[in-house]
């Protein structure tokens, strides 16, 4: 990596160097926003949580334990804020389905765009997505978190374990039960990988 590491930057932030904080924000705002958005799916809330996360990073910089990994610490802060937020909103699925037209989604990869020509197909895709999202809201939160971090964020099991502060085997176990739970929730609606039957 070019330039100082995240941990070096944070140490500089601790001694009052605001530019280092700016560098950290610039480096992590995008991954953090992705992470938070995929956890809670509401752009406004995701934005607020990112803001709050960075603010806490700044205010709690002195509590960062040397030797720890900055990103893990930052994700832990963000995850706790997401959990608080979801507790407030109570139902994840209800939260997730809402869309805000003010925010343009990132352009889909070209591979997806090719299939998107047919409006009927697009509509079905949207419907499936909503059903799956709803089913995701029916499984326990601790399993859902793992599913989101693994499938949507592409994190390694080791990274997830570090953020959650639990053994890797626990993460894999939650993954296992989460996937099965998801499938079961969808099966109840006659929904399979091949389509709605």
């Amino acid at each position: 990596m070019h330039g100082p590491t995240d941990e070096e930057l944070l140490l500089a932030v601790r001694s009052g160097d605001n530019d280092s904080f700016g560098t950290l924000v610039a480096r992590w705002e995008r991954p953090l926003f992705h992470f938070v958005y995929r956890m809670i799916s509401r752009p406004e809330d995701a934005r607020d949580i990112c803001q709050e996360t960075f603010l806490r990073v700044l205010n709690k910089a002195h509590r960062f334990k040397p030797g720890a990994k900055f990103s893990t610490w930052m994700y832990q802060i963000a995850l706790n804020l997401c959990r608080d937020q979801l507790r407030k909103k109570r139902r994840w699925s209800a939260v997730v389905v809402e869309r805000n037209s003010d925010f343009e989604p990132e352009p889909a990869p070209s591979a997806v765009l090719q299939v998107e020509d047919n409006p009927a197909e697009a509509a079905e895709r949207t419907e499936r997505r909503q059903l799956i999202t709803q089913a995701l809201g029916e499984i326990p939160a601790e399993q859902r978190e793992v599913l989101v971090m693994k499938e949507f964020e592409g994190m390694k099991f080791r990274e997830i374990a570090e953020i959650l502060g639990c053994p890797e085997s626990t993460v894999k176990s939650r993954m296992y039960y989460g996937l099965n739970g998801l499938k079961a929730a969808l099966a109840k609606q006659g929904f399979t990988a091949e389509g709605v039957s």
């Binding site: 605001n18 995929r38 752009p43 607020d48 003010d102 343009e104 889909a108 296992y176 996937l179």
Partner: protein, 239 residues
């Protein structure tokens, strides 16, 4: 037959995080165990369904860092330096030039720091951002401070000139026997110096005290301060 201990490996296999030797072991087991083969197939289907629900992430809102120079140490030091400097200059004039409000009609620069914070400062509002431009609260830029300082200096020179002329005129009007000898003048000046020094010290101590208190209070309200504000995308007004 219980295959519980294979479940972890199945999950690892699903995400291709399986180490080589474990992968070989699993491969052998799968060849013999229909149950685990079925299990892995189920997991693959579930993963495929899950991947369909992957949310597209909206364009990242920009993060805007708001600087509030009032609350940063380097600026505080600079402000303190300025005040001390102003005090030293101001103290030089026995008549005393009021600080702050008379700074050449420009925005009061020292007053912000000199005036004690209101008691409800803990409820300070977060700085607002409109169209990406921070709304100013009560801080001044370095340029403004320099301008005010230059202005102050010019006015001081002017006053000193006037005062000097006044004293010279008065001295010229005194009968010779009323004039002080050089020694008497030196004594008087050193007494004046001491008084000035004491007064200056008192003011400086008061100011430093105030600065320290201000900083302590600001620390306490850290949470209320939004140093960072995420503004929306271009064109999107943050609430």
């Amino acid at each position: 037959m219980s295959c519980v201990h294979w479940k972890e490996l199945l999950v690892e296999q699903l995400y291709e995080e399986l180490e080589r030797d474990k992968a070989l072991a699993l491969e052998h087991h799968l060849a013999d165990c229909a149950e685990c083969r079925h299990e892995l197939e189920q997991l693959r289907q579930a993963r495929s369904l899950l991947s369909e629900a992957k949310p597209e992430v909206p364009t990242l809102p920009r993060v805007v860092m708001l600087r509030q120079p009032t609350f940063h140490r380097p600026w505080m030091a600079f402000a303190a330096g300025f005040i001390l400097c102003a005090l030293l200059i101001g103290g030089g004039i026995a008549t005393g030039v009021a600080l702050g409000p008379k700074l050449g009609g420009s925005q009061s620069t020292t007053a912000t720091v000199l005036e004690p914070l209101p008691q409800d400062a803990g409820n300070a509002q977060a700085p607002q951002v409109i169209d990406g431009t921070p709304v100013r609260n009560d801080f001044v830029s370095r340029d403004e401070l320099n301008k005010a300082l230059a202005n102050y200096g010019a006015r001081f020179d002017e006053r000193l000139q006037t005062k000097g002329n006044e004293i010279l005129t008065r001295v010229g009007q005194q009968p010779p026997e009323m004039l002080l000898t050089q020694d008497e003048l030196n004594d008087a000046l050193s007494i004046f110096d001491r008084q000035l020094e004491n007064r200056r010290r008192g003011q400086i101590e008061l100011l430093v005290d105030q600065l320290v208190q201000t900083e302590a209070r600001l620390k306490a309200q850290e949470d209320a301060l939004r140093i960072l504000v995420l503004s929306g995308q271009p064109g999107v007004r943050p609430e």
